[in-house]
């Protein structure tokens, strides 16, 4: 995407992911255009792209809103993600290059660091977790798969999920990443796939359990 459209895209996406715009809130082209200093044309383009990525939904009368995800939506999105990332892991197994394996290792070292701190650094965890998964997806070497995954992985959900993790779960997550690397080293696609699917399904259940039992509150015993 070119300069203005790209800028609009990142601006809007940022607003949504950071929570500055809340789910259900209406997005007006004019307002957004002013907010990021471009005209409506590139804003429209950015919005169409975000719509394709399910971050924006449109009403039947063509108005745009920050997407609100139902529980069922989220369950479905985790299911698809597990399937596709599992497939990606299997494909990556005999395509991944030594350099990429090294990068995976580095990301996970950073994750271990973030988790080991007195109060875990969730932001760093999320960043390197994302980096790790991106490398795996790229290593699968399918442009189509990469795009599909981009349109499924709801970063707001990933974020909220990570925030629910306690230290043990964060460590468990890092351990699963390590197991995936070992599976790659052994060139075992079935193993890689199984690890990845388990990894994502566990994340789903942490997320979904949290919906029934809201976040830990210091005041609650």
């Amino acid at each position: 995407m070119s300069k203005a459209a790209d800028r609009a895209y990142h601006f809007i996406r940022g607003e949504i992911l950071s929570g500055a715009m809340t789910p259900g809130e209406q997005l007006r082209e004019e307002t957004l255009a002013e907010a990021c200093g471009v005209s409506r044309t590139p804003v429209r383009e950015a919005m169409r792209k975000l719509e394709a990525e399910n971050l924006i939904q449109r009403s039947d009368s063509q108005r745009s809103f920050v997407a609100t995800l139902s529980v069922d939506d989220i369950a479905e999105s985790f299911a698809l993600r597990a399937m596709l990332e599992g497939h990606a892991a299997a494909r990556a197994t005999d395509r991944i290059k030594p350099g990429q394996l090294a990068t995976l290792f580095d990301h996970n070292a950073a994750i271990r660091d973030a988790v080991a701190r007195e109060t875990p650094d969730i932001a760093a965890f999320i960043e390197h977790n994302r980096g790790f998964h991106t490398v795996v997806t790229d290593a699968a070497g399918s442009e189509r798969l990469t795009r599909l995954l981009a349109s499924i992985v709801e970063q707001p959900v990933v974020l909220r999920t990570a925030r629910r993790y306690d230290r043990a779960q964060l460590e468990r997550s890092a351990a699963e990443h390590e197991e995936l690397v070992v599976a790659f080293r052994h060139r075992d696609p079935d193993w890689a796939k199984a690890v990845m699917i388990g990894h994502i399904r566990r994340a789903f259940h942490v997320y979904s359990d949290a919906l029934t039992a809201p976040p830990r509150d210091p005041k609650t015993p």
Copy 2:
């Protein structure tokens, strides 16, 4: 999509699917705008959508071309399709409504008709095949899944595949559809999934075999 953009979308898509525009051919916004009597703005929107659907590819300098699919691309797209449509069939199993089951039945009756003719009516076969699969996907009741599948199922490939089918294969295809309906009636998601995956993987191999052994030629003994 609104009127002009929608028109542009269907026009361009039609040109590509019908073969009027050949793979690798460049698409110019101005030319297309004139060809379907709208301005460049809606044409650009349509092109972005078609790009998301992999019917159009863009060069690094932002020029657009009718997509050329490598063998690997196609193999990957069949793999993804089998996975996702298999999932859709499983989900559809306990969501499909009686009316939809009836529609499936009707489509398949039409397919049987098309196949039974002296020279099978491939156009009708394709139309009702598409209808059948669409009903299954819809019955799965996931907007996200529907969109994902739309961006994967390459109609040009489906078309070419169907043209490779001989009568036995066309009948086999109809039989598989019938088996899927039976699986639905028995509310057996695993069965439905297995049938769907087999159905698509078989199509893949017909397509891929045809690449090594070109179409049957009357002149060849």
